[in-house]
Amino acid sequence: MGNKADVWQGTLALMVLKTLETMGSLHGYGIARRIEQTSGDLLSLNYGTLYPALLKLEQEGYITSSWGASENNRRAKYYELTRAGKKQVKKEAADWEQTTAILARFLAPAEEA
C-alpha cells in the first residue's frame, strides 16, 4: 500500500457525502470500500477514521443512520443523506471545483514554462 495517497484533511466528508448521493443508503464498510474503488484503489483509507467522520456528519444533520440487514443478511448500520445533506453535497462540490480550478490555473503556466 506504500504508493497510495492518504486522504487529505477535510476531503473525507465530501467523499462520504458524494458516495451516499450516488449509492443512496449504505453501511460504513460499504462506504469505505466504495471510496477506495472510486479512487481507483489509489487512496488508502484508514477505516477507523471513517466512523468519527460519519458521526460528525450525523451530528451536523447531513446524514441519518438506521439499522438494517446487509446483502449477506448481516445486521449493519445504514447511512443516507438528509435534505440538508443533499444541499451540502452540491455546495461543497461547487466549492471544491472552484478551489481545484483556481489551483489548476496556478499549476498550468508552470507546466508550460
Partner: protein, 889 residues
C-alpha cells in the same frame, strides 16, 4: 447553526455515552465481519483475513477512542473530572475549605458591594436626558482657582440673555414651606426649592401627572403654582391623582398643584418635597440683585460646543458686570463650571475611592492567604504529584487540577460573597448619610459580571503560583528523597514567606490608613464648638406671612413662647437663634465700618449672620467676653440697632482698637444700610466642625424685623439631666399657640454634631474593620506557615534536642523564623504607607499623614499579632519528643 447543533448533541452525548458505545461496538463488529468475509472470499485464511481487517481498521480500541471523543466533549469531560477531584480533595479537608471559602467570600463580597455603590453613584450617568451636556455654573474668583460660588439671580438673567454656547440655562435655590393640614392633619415643614420654569424641561424630566411649569407661572405676581415630588404625593396625598388641579396651603397661602414629578427624580436632594416657580417666590430685590448670591445654575450645552468655550464666553459677560457693579457691592469677577455629575457626586468621591482601595487590598490579602494555604497543601502532596508525573501526567494537566481547586474555592466564595454584597450594599446605602442618588444603588447584571470576573481572577491568581511551584522542574526529586531527608522543601517554604511578607506589607498599609482616618475622626469629634453640647435641645420653626406679617406679631409669638418654655419644670435656660453652632454656614452679610477709612473700591467685607434673644448666649453656654449681650430693652423695631460680635470679628475688623460702641453698616436691606452699634463680644463658635472660625455677627431676634426674626431655632438647656423628655411638652406648647405652625429638627446638640461627623465616623469605622480583618488574615497566614515549618522540621528538631539543644534556643529558632517575614513586611509596609497616606491627605482633619502615634501603634499591634501567631507553633516545637520525632516516618 449546524455547528451548534453538533455541539448540543455532543453535550448530550457526554451523559449518554454507555448506549452509544454499545451501539458503536455492534457497528464495528458488523464492519469487521464484512471485511473478514471479503478477505475469505478473496482466498485468505480466516485468521489472516481477520488480521488484515484489523490493520485496515487501525486498531479496535483506537477506533473506539476516536469515536468516543467525537461523541462527547473531551475538554469538558476532563474539566468535569478535575472538578470532581477538586471537590473530593476539599471535602477531605473541610476545615481548610470552609476557612478559605469564608476568607474569599468576605473579600469578594466587600468588593462587589463597594463596586455596586461606586458604579451607581460615580459611574452611571445621571438619569437625565443627554447628561453629558449638563453643566453646573458657578461664580468664580480668579484669585482663587478652587472658588465656586452660588450665583446672584441678577447675574443669572444676564448670562441667560447673552450666552451663546448653551441651549438653555436654569436656576434654582433652596427653600422651605409650612405645609398646612387639609383636614385636621398636622402641619409640616417641608424642604422645597424654587426653580426657573425651564429647569425640568432642560433636564429632560416629564412630570408623571399634570404638567411642568411654563413661562406664565414663572413671573412675579402670577397665580401660585406648585409641583409635588413623588414622595410627598404618595405620603401626604395618598398618591391620589385627583390632587392635580387642586390647591394646597403653603405658608398659609393657596397654591394650585399643577404636576407631580416621577419617583426617580431626587435632584438636588431626596429631601426636597416640592417645587415652586423661581420668580414667583423670590423677592423682587433679589431677582435684580448682583450681590445676593443664592442661586444654583444648571445649563445645557449646545451640541458640539465645549464646556470650556461656553463658560469662557459667559465669564466674559460676568466680567463686564463685575466692572460695572463691583464698586457698589460684592460681584464675582468670573464664571467657572463643571459637569453636573461631578457636582452631584463631588463629596463622596474621595471616601468611596478610599474604601474601594481598602477592599481591593483586603481581597488581595485574601488572595495571598489562599495562595499560601494552597502552597502548603501542594507541599504536603509532593510525593503524590511526583508519582503522577513519573506515570506520565503532563504538567499542564497537574496545574489545571490545582487551578480547578482554587477556582472551586473562589467560586464558592464568590457565590457566598455575592449574597453578602447584596446585604452589605443595602446596609451601606442606609448608613451613609447624604449619599447622593442612594435610591439608585442596587446590584445589577454588571455588578454580577464584576463579581464573576473578580472571582475568576482571584481563583487564577491564587492558584497559579502554587500550581506552578508545585509542578515545576525538580518535582521528581521528591521520589529521590530518602524518607529521612530533612528540610527538603526549603524553596517552597521561602515562597510562602515571600507571600506572607507581601500580605503583611499590605496589612500595614491598611492599618496605617485606617489609623489615620480614625484619629482624624476622633479629632473631629472632640473639636470644641465653643458652646455647650450636652443637654441642649433644639427645635426649628418659621413664622410665615401673612399670619406673622407685622413685627409685633412676631415679637409676641417669640416672647410668649420663651416665657412658657422657661416656666416648664426642668428648663434651666432657653433662647432663640436662627442657627446653632455646628449646624452649617447658613448665610453671611456684607458689612462696612463708618469709623474706618473707606475700603478701596471692589473690596468687600463679610460676616456670618446670626440672631439671638437676650437668653440665647447663656442657654447655649457661649461666654460673654466684653460688653453685654442683648437685654429686654432691645425689643421691637425702634431700638434694634445693636449687634453682638464674636472674638474673631473683633480680631479681624478691629485689630488694634476697642470695638464696643463702634458702628457697623449692614447693607442687606438697602444701600448704604443701617448703622448697628456693637454692644458686646462673645466667644468664638464654629459653624462647622471641620471649618475654621469666621467673623460672626448677632442681630436681636426680638426686634421683630421680618427679615431676620421669622426664622427661629429654639434652644433649651436643662442642667445635668436628659433634655429629650422636654421635647414633647414644648411641641404641645407650640401647637397650643399656633396649631398651624410645624416644628422640625427636634434634635439634641449631640445629634447635630453627630450628624456632621456621621460620614467620617462611618468610613473610618469601615476602613478600620477592613484593616482588622486583614490583620487577622495575616496572623492566620503567619500561624499557618510556621506550623507547617515546624511539622516539616520535627525530625530536625528532634535531633537537635537529642544532641542537647535547650528549649529556649529552639523557641528562639522558630520564633525568629516566623518573625523575619513579619519584620520585612513591616518595613515594606511602612514605606508603602508613606506613599499611600499622601493620597488620603485631603480627607484627614487636623492629622498629618506621617502621624507618629499612628505609625507606632500600628508597628506595635502588628508585632504583637505576629508574636502571638508564632508563639503556638514555637511552643509546640519545644515540646517535640526526640524519641518519637526520630521514629516518625
Amino acid at each position: 447553526m449546524r455547528r451548534l447543533r453538533a455541539l448540543w448533541l455532543r453535550v448530550r452525548g457526554m451523559f449518554a455515552s454507555g448506549r452509544a458505545e454499545a451501539e458503536f461496538s455492534a457497528e464495528l463488529e458488523s464492519h469487521l465481519a464484512m471485511n473478514i468475509e471479503d478477505g475469505v472470499r478473496a482466498g485468505l485464511s480466516r485468521e489472516e483475513a481477520r488480521r488484515q481487517a484489523l490493520i485496515r481498521l487501525g486498531g479496535m480500541e483506537q477506533a473506539k477512542i476516536a469515536q468516543r471523543e467525537r461523541c462527547g466533549l473531551p475538554v469538558v469531560e476532563a474539566l468535569g473530572r478535575d472538578v470532581a477531584y477538586g471537590v473530593r480533595t476539599l471535602r477531605k479537608n473541610p476545615g481548610f475549605a470552609i476557612v478559605s471559602i469564608l476568607v474569599i467570600a468576605i473579600g469578594i463580597g466587600a468588593n462587589a458591594a463597594l463596586f455596586t455603590v461606586v458604579r451607581s453613584v460615580l459611574l452611571r450617568p445621571l438619569p437625565f436626558a443627554d447628561p453629558d451636556r449638563l453643566v453646573m455654573m458657578y461664580g468664580h474668583n480668579p484669585d482663587d482657582p478652587d472658588s465656586r460660588n452660588v450665583v446672584a439671580a441678577g447675574d443669572f438673567y444676564e448670562w441667560q440673555k447673552a450666552s451663546q454656547g448653551f441651549e438653555q440655562m436654569a436656576i434654582w435655590r433652596w427653600s422651605g414651606y409650612n405645609l398646612s393640614g387639609q383636614k385636621n392633619e398636622l402641619p409640616e415643614m417641608v424642604s422645597a426649592a424654587y426653580g426657573s420654569w425651564n429647569l425640568f424641561s432642560m433636564l429632560g424630566v416629564q412630570p408623571v401627572l399634570g404638567r411642568s411649569f411654563d413661562p406664565n407661572d414663572d413671573k412675579a405676581g402670577a397665580s401660585r403654582t406648585v409641583i409635588l415630588n413623588w414622595g410627598l404625593f404618595k405620603r401626604r396625598f395618598n398618591g391620589d391623582p385627583a390632587i392635580v388641579g387642586k390647591t394646597i396651603r403653603l405658608n398659609s397661602q393657596t397654591y394650585t398643584v399643577v404636576g407631580v414629578l416621577p419617583g426617580w427624580f431626587t435632584y438636588p436632594d431626596p429631601e426636597v418635597q416640592l417645587w415652586t416657580p423661581y420668580r414667583l417666590e423670590e423677592n423682587p430685590q433679589n431677582i435684580e440683585s448682583h450681590f445676593n448670591h443664592m442661586g444654583h445654575v444648571i445649563a445645557r450645552l449646545k451640541p458640539g460646543v465645549s464646556r470650556e468655550q461656553a463658560t469662557q464666553q459667559v465669564s466674559g459677560v460676568q466680567h463686564q458686570l463685575f466692572l460695572r457693579y463691583n464698586n457698589s457691592g460684592p460681584v464675582v469677577a468670573g464664571v467657572t463650571s463643571q459637569p453636573l455629575v461631578n457636582e452631584v457626586v463631588g463629596e463622596v468621591k474621595k471616601p468611596l475611592y478610599i474604601l474601594m482601595g481598602a477592599v481591593g487590598c483586603l481581597l488581595l490579602i485574601a488572595c495571598l492567604n489562599l495562595s499560601n494555604l494552597l502552597v502548603a497543601r501542594a507541599a504536603a502532596r509532593r510525593k503524590e504529584i511526583a508519582i503522577r508525573t513519573a506515570l506520565g501526567s503532563s504538567r499542564a494537566r497537574l496545574c489545571r487540577e490545582q487551578l480547578t481547586e482554587s477556582l472551586l474555592i473562589c467560586v464558592a466564595g464568590g457565590a457566598v460573597g455575592l449574597v453578602l454584597a447584596v446585604w452589605a450594599t443595602r446596609w451601606l446605602t442606609t448608613r451613609w448619610v447624604d449619599m447622593p442618588r442612594a435610591e439608585a444603588v442596587h446590584p445589577d447584571g454588571v455588578v454580577v459580571a464584576f463579581a464573576v470576573g473578580i472571582t475568576l481572577l482571584t481563583g487564577i491568581l491564587s492558584g497559579l503560583l502554587p500550581a506552578l511551584s508545585a509542578t515545576g522542574r525538580g518535582v521528581l526529586s521528591a521520589l529521590q528523597d530518602a524518607s529521612r531527608t530533612i528540610g527538603g522543601s526549603a524553596s517552597r517554604a521561602s515562597l510562602r514567606k515571600v507571600l506572607l511578607t507581601a500580605e503583611i506589607a499590605l496589612t500595614v498599609v491598611l492599618l496605617v490608613c485606617a489609623g489615620l482616618l480614625f484619629k482624624s475622626f476622633v479629632r473631629l469629634r472632640s473639636v470644641d464648638l465653643g458652646c455647650r453640647t450636652d443637654n441642649v435641645l433644639t427645635m426649628k420653626f418659621f413664622l410665615r406671612r401673612p399670619k406673622y406679617a407685622q413685627p409685633e406679631q412676631i415679637v409676641a409669638f417669640h416672647t410668649g413662647l420663651l416665657e412658657k418654655v422657661r416656666a416648664l419644670p426642668g428648663v434651666e435656660g432657653a433662647g432663640l437663634t436662627n442657627v446653632v453652632p455646628g449646624d452649617g454656614y447658613y448665610g453671611d452679610t456684607g458689612i462696612r465700618f463708618p469709623e474706618h477709612p473707606p475700603l478701596p473700591p471692589g473690596v468687600h467685607q463679610f460676616a456670618i449672620y446670626r440672631t439671638a434673644d437676650p437668653g440665647y448666649f447663656s442657654a447655649m453656654g457661649i461666654p460673654l467676653v466684653r460688653g453685654r449681650v442683648f437685654t429686654e430693652d432691645e425689643r421691637g423695631m425702634t431700638n434694634d440697632k445693636h449687634i453682638v460680635i464674636n472674638q474673631q470679628f473683633a480680631r479681624e475688623y478691629f485689630p488694634n482698637e476697642d470695638s464696643i460702641g463702634k458702628h457697623v453698616f449692614v447693607s442687606w436691606e438697602s444701600d448704604p444700610g443701617d448703622a448697628y452699634e456693637v454692644i458686646g463680644i462673645v466667644g468664638d463658635t464654629l459653624y462647622a466642625l471641620d471649618q475654621p472660625v469666621k467673623p460672626m455677627i448677632w442681630f436681636p431676634i426680638l426686634s421683630g424685623n421680618p427679615v431676620e426674626s421669622v426664622d427661629a431655632m429654639l434652644v433649651v438647656h436643662s442642667r445635668g439631666r436628659d433634655v429629650t423628655p422636654l421635647a414633647l411638652p414644648i411641641q404641645k406648647l407650640i401647637a397650643q399657640m399656633d396649631p398651624d405652625l410645624p416644628v422640625s429638627r427636634v434634635l439634641t446638640m449631640e445629634q447635630i454634631v453627630g450628624e456632621s461627623t456621621a460620614n467620617s465616623s462611618f468610613s473610618a469605622t469601615l476602613v478600620l474593620a477592613f484593616a482588622g480583618l486583614s490583620l487577622l488574615l495575616a496572623a492566620v497566614g503567619l500561624y499557618g506557615v510556621l506550623s507547617y515549618l515546624v511539622t516539616q522540621r520535627t525530625t530536625e528538631i528532634g535531633i537537635r534536642i537529642a544532641l542537647g539543644a535547650r528549649r529556649t534556643q529552639l523557641l528562639q529558632l522558630v520564633m525568629l523564623d516566623g518573625l523575619r517575614p513579619a519584620f520585612v513586611g513591616l518595613a515594606l509596609g511602612i514605606a508603602g504607607s508613606v506613599g499611600a497616606t499622601q493620597l488620603i491627605r485631603s480627607v484627614l482633619y487636623a492629622t498629618r499623614p506621617l502621624d507618629a502615634v499612628v505609625y507606632v501603634s500600628v508597628i506595635v499591634t502588628l508585632l504583637l499579632a505576629a508574636a502571638a501567631a508564632c508563639l503556638v507553633p514555637a511552643w509546640r516545637a519545644t515540646r517535640v519528643n526526640p524519641i518519637q520525632a526520630l521514629r516518625a516516618e
